[in-house]
């Protein structure tokens, strides 16, 4: 995988998430996909330490149901609008059929409305990301995505949109 291919993949993923095309985003994942957002410490073990998210593909499906279809997902009423900036893309391992990527993400998230006191400015989530991909036919699929927020050990408030 070249850096150009990596960027193409990551930019597509970012666009699908920003457009809330979450079912399409799920198509970018392999069946054994794990989606991890560590809490407190990026080197913690997700089975013995709390994580913000540690989802299998089935868990992701449930999360998508909650975001898009449940009809009573209060923290997404009104829904988040997001724009994410993906930079510093590096292909750190590349065997042809598998690849490992690093990048940084800066996510802006904003919910409009006037029922809350804190609607004057967007939330900003900077993070370092780590991906593992596998080539399936012509397409790359994520087997692992890790998002390490720089604020992982600081106050982290409700996260009910996809990162």
């Amino acid at each position: 995988m070249t850096r150009g291919e990596a960027e193409e993949f990551l930019f597509t993923e970012a666009r699908l998430l920003d457009e809330r095309k979450l079912e399409d985003w799920l198509e970018l994942t392999a069946d054994d996909f794990m989606y991890w957002i560590p809490l407190n410490d990026e080197d913690s073990h997700p089975e013995t330490h709390l994580s913000i998210i540690y989802d299998s593909k089935a868990d992701c499906r449930e999360r998508i149901f909650r975001v898009l279809e449940s009809g009573m997902n209060h923290p997404q009423d009104p829904p988040s609008r997001t724009a994410r900036f993906v930079t510093n893309v590096e292909v750190i391992d590349n065997s042809g059929s598998e690849a490992e990527l690093r990048c940084n993400t800066l996510l802006y998230e904003y919910r409009s409305g006037s029922g809350r006191p804190d609607t004057t400015s967007p939330n900003i989530y900077p993070a370092r990301c780590h991906y593992r991909l596998r080539k399936t036919g012509e397409d790359w699929r994520m087997t692992f995505k890790k998002v390490s927020f720089v604020t992982m050990d600081g106050p982290l408030n409700a996260m009910t949109f996809f990162i």
Partner: protein
């Protein structure tokens, strides 16, 4: 300070909790917030941590009592000191880390140094101070005059007098004992992560929400739907009885409250929920009958003013200002005993993450609703508008438990009323010692 304090009569007028209502000014007025610090947070017991967080001599953690930054430090003798994180010289904090191990704390402004029991052992360029120039300065960090540990749970009070810890815990102690007796050693381990968050809203909003049962089917509708969609999941995730009237709430006195599923009417199917090796380990320590008793229960408990206990978490509320609150939700594990607790500990991480974490099904809902409440309370800034917040569900239909505690059925709001009964007593000039000991036993409903 004194002139702006609410009088006892004003307090009664703002908190007619017998009628199930309180004035929303109590959540928005900065002067009332200051009085709460003086009369509540600096008078009574406040939870500051767990012995497993500072297991070894020299271990410390930093936290707060109200607005006061403190260090909870285990000294060379193994004693737990709760020290004010403030250099006696110019007031700078002397400890910066959340956790650590050190024999001493040093102020990085001028280098004044303290032992981990608080005593001042080093003054930079001491000879340069002339006779008398150091006389007025304390020779140790300020400290909480009262520290008490109950089965690993560390509480501190900035007041030298007041109720003994176990007297203050009262009926709530029985629930802490149940919670602790689900550990094969009789103590829990605070380890495995801390979800730190804050919200725009008064600290009491979060405390009220910590064992609220009336909102579950509504606010947490998604969790209920997902729970039904999921089949073959662990029975631990079956968190609701079919008959919701079995959800009871209690006023345990001193501001403490409980919500629980009445274990007579809806006992947890505990034999199916836990590995046999774990059940055996509990039986070995506390016997068959007590094991059945502690495992069949499902409850939430809050101790006023700053801590709430869930099955696998301790939630600590820190007031920052009248409309800003920080919460630290500590993961609680069972002591590691291979073959006995490892499976359950793995399950506890999953349940905590999926339910109460920042992206969980329940925690995110609560955090959404607290700022909405704070925004609504701001309506009371107009004198002609309705200022009342209601907690009347169950206010007139309670029964008494064996300890004098008031009990309400059917998802009543008694565990929220408890906060206000306690608040009203603490906030009055006489405080807890004069007013509280027999309160829950004699109070008319």
């Amino acid at each position: 300070m004194g002139s702006s304090m609410l009088t006892d009569q004003q307090i009664d007028e703002l908190v007619p909790i017998e009628e199930g209502r309180v004035h929303s000014r109590l959540y928005t007025d900065p002067e009332i917030f200051q009085q709460e610090m003086q009369r509540i947070f600096y008078r009574t017991w406040v939870y500051v941590g767990h012995t497993s967080e500072i297991a070894e001599p020299g271990d410390y953690k930093t936290t707060h009592i109200g607005l006061v930054p403190v260090i909870v430090a285990r000294d060379e003798d193994g004693e737990v000191n709760v020290l004010v994180n403030r250099c006696v010289h110019r007031g700078t904090t002397v400890c910066q880390q959340e956790y650590g191990n050190s024999n001493y704390f040093r102020c990085e402004y001028h280098g004044w140094t303290y032992k981990n029991n608080g005593s001042l052992i080093g003054i930079t360029l001491r000879k340069g101070f002339k006779d008398g120039e150091l006389d007025g300065i304390a020779k140790s960090l300020d400290r909480a005059p009262r520290v008490a540990i109950y089965r690993g749970l560390i509480f501190a009070s900035l007041s030298p007098t007041g109720l003994a810890l176990e007297e203050w815990l009262g009926v709530a102690k029985d629930y802490l004992d149940v919670w602790l007796d689900t550990s094969p050693t009789g103590e829990m381990v605070v380890s495995g992560g801390i979800w730190k968050h804050d919200y725009t809203g008064n600290w009491k909003i979060g405390m009220e929400g910590s064992d609220e049962r009336y909102h579950i089917n509504f606010l947490h509708h998604v969790a209920v739907v997902l729970n039904k969609r999921r089949t073959g999941q662990t029975s631990k995730l079956k968190f609701m009885p079919d008959d919701m009237t079995a959800l009871e709430t209690k006023d345990a006195g001193h501001g403490h409250g409980i919500s629980e599923i009445n274990s007579e009417r809806w006992p947890m199917p505990w034999r199916d929920m836990y590995p046999q090796a774990y059940i055996d380990a509990l039986v070995a320590r506390i016997g068959e009958e007590r094991t059945a008793h502690v495992l069949r229960q499902d409850f939430r408990l809050h101790l006023f003013p700053n801590v709430a206990f869930g099955p696998e978490n301790i939630r600590v509320f820190r007031p920052i200002s009248v409309d800003h609150t920080e919460v630290r939700q500590y993961h609680v594990a069972l002591p590691t005993i291979p073959g006995v607790t490892d499976e359950l500990n793995a399950q506890r991480v999953v349940v905590h993450r999926k339910f109460y974490g920042p992206a969980g099904y329940v925690g995110a809902d609560d955090l959404e609703i607290f700022p909405r409440m704070m925004e609504g309370y701001r309506a009371q800034s107009c004198d002609t508008l309705n200022p009342w917040v209601w907690f009347s569900r169950g206010a007139t239909t309670t029964r008494r438990g064996p300890g004098g505690e008031r009990i309400g059925e059917d998802q009543s709001e008694v565990s929220q009323q408890s906060i206000w009964y306690g608040w009203r007593e603490y906030m009055k000039a006489a405080g807890e010692t004069a007013a509280l000991p027999s309160r829950s036993a004699v109070r008319s409903t």
